[in-house]
């Protein structure tokens, strides 16, 4: 009788342990699945934010009074950059202005203006603040007319064609 009772008790304990074990295994899988889901969502959110930042930064740069053509538009090109202002702005950024002010506008990014016509060898790295240990990078391109008032005679500037390369890091 005593032997029978002990056996029944052992079966009960084993049953309880088995149930608890399965419960914790399921809980563990549930938690792993949940954290995986949260991790993926966070990464997607970060990628989305980076894309938004790239678009915002490009918009900001194209309309920046420091580089925008003073006529604003140069038909047929709706977006225009002034090369004299661009060079001057590049010089301004080589001082403290980048960290003091423009970092709030562009954060970790690299902005290059590339001429396509007539001289594709010409390009200007206007803003360069790389993030050494970046986890993600997004590049966007935006075409623009490039006005050069330094090479012409009279009030009419020479118009070149190029594009802006905006690289943002996170």
């Amino acid at each position: 009788m005593i032997l029978k009772k002990t056996k029944q008790g052992q079966i009960h304990i084993t049953e309880t342990i088995a149930v608890l074990f399965i419960f914790f295994v399921l809980l563990f899988f549930g938690l792993v699945f949940y954290y995986k889901y949260v991790d993926v969502s966070a990464k997607e959110q970060l990628a989305e934010n980076l894309e938004r930042r790239a678009v915002d930064s490009t918009t900001r740069f194209i309309f920046l009074p420091e580089v925008q053509c003073t006529q604003r538009e140069l038909p047929p090109f709706p977006y225009c950059l002034d090369l004299l202002k661009l060079s001057a702005f590049k010089d301004v950024l080589s001082g403290d202005a980048l960290d003091e002010y423009y970092f709030h506008l562009f954060s970790f990014a690299k902005i290059t203006v590339q001429e396509v016509y007539p001289d594709p060898a010409r390009s200007w790295v206007v803003y360069d603040k790389p993030k050494i240990d970046y986890s993600n990078k997004k590049v966007t391109y935006f075409s623009a007319a490039l006005e050069d008032a330094s090479v012409s005679g009279g009030a009419e500037p020479v118009v070149h064609f190029g594009y802006v390369v905006m690289e943002v890091y996170s």
């Binding site: 419960f23 949940y34 934010n49 938004r52 678009v55 915002d56 918009t59 900001r60 194209i62 309309f63 009074p65 420091e66 925008q68 003073t70 604003r72 002034d82 004299l84 202002k85 060079s87 001057a88 702005f89 010089d91 301004v92 202005a97 002010y101 423009y102 709030h104 506008l105 008032a149 330094s150 090479v151 012409s152 005679g153 009279g154 009030a155 500037p157």
Partner: protein, 361 residues
Amino acid sequence: MNRIFSQRGQLDLPFNWIYVLLAGGVILLFFVGVVVKQKDVATQQLGTDINQILSSIATAAAAAESTKVVVETSGLADDVLYFECRNAQTEYGIKGKGSPVTDPIIPLFAPAEINSRELLLWSLPYLLPYKVTDFLYITAPTIQYILVGNDARVQEFLKESKSGQQEKFVLSVAKTDDLSSFSPQKGKQSFRIIDYTGLAVQSGGIVPVGLQSLEDRQVSAVTFNSGAATFFVKKGTVWQSEGSTPLFSLGGDLDAVYYAAVFSGHKEMFECGMQKAFQRLKYVSDVYEKKGLALENSPGAQEGNCPVLFSGLPGLLLAHHGDSTLCSEFYPENCVSLVQKSGEIRSLNQQLFSANCPPLY
């Protein structure tokens, strides 16, 4: 023996149920905890997302010059958007939800709080004499602007209160010659009096009877007089002055500085936004100083009467840059000469245009 077994069975059954209930309760509590936490995170995330979207809208609206944008915010009808500006930093967002947006760049002028199903965004360029930045004004159809006077700016404001392109962009504007008998439009949450005469609203003066019963925060005023704006808040039934501040502007149509004073909820908001503009001017004037030097040496500047005209430009731009730097550090005390220098640069630029020389801007 049978009796003993039966008693044990009676004990076993409740024990199992208690165990199941306890375990079930713990599991339920765990998942309820996860759901509550998730809901809290989602609410905060939604607030942050909306603030980020607002920031993107503000960026786009400020970038595109002279734009009028309507933003549907019916989903936020129960929330209050707040705007603050201190030490050249604007902070805005949904009250009590998410992380607010901090912006040290865009000069943003808005009332302290907005609770509306629509936001009206308007941007105008600030010229001194070249474009410095775009001012962004944020308001709502729930705010009524009461214009006093017969100034040309009154007519301009009435005309600009509607947009040709954006049908939904309609500012609530009313013109009155007699403020004391003015009765406010029903359904509006706040009222702002714009006194172009500089006489209708005085410190210690009586608030119009129709507005006296409203809460103090719902009524404010600004008066324009001799190139300065004076801001007023309602204290019971009388006006209390927040003080005057000079308006540094070249005048002309659609004067961004006047509209900045109109749309700023308080003097602090206006001065803070202007401070941001002058910080920007410091760098923009540096760019133009360098451009002026490059232009002076360009082939176009060597023809006809251009060398004579260009000879005075670098000195003028250098002085303007110096004034801008001083003004950005000691606003508004050291900003007086900015307007005069800007006028001189504008005049010289017009001469460059007339003489067929490459203009500065």
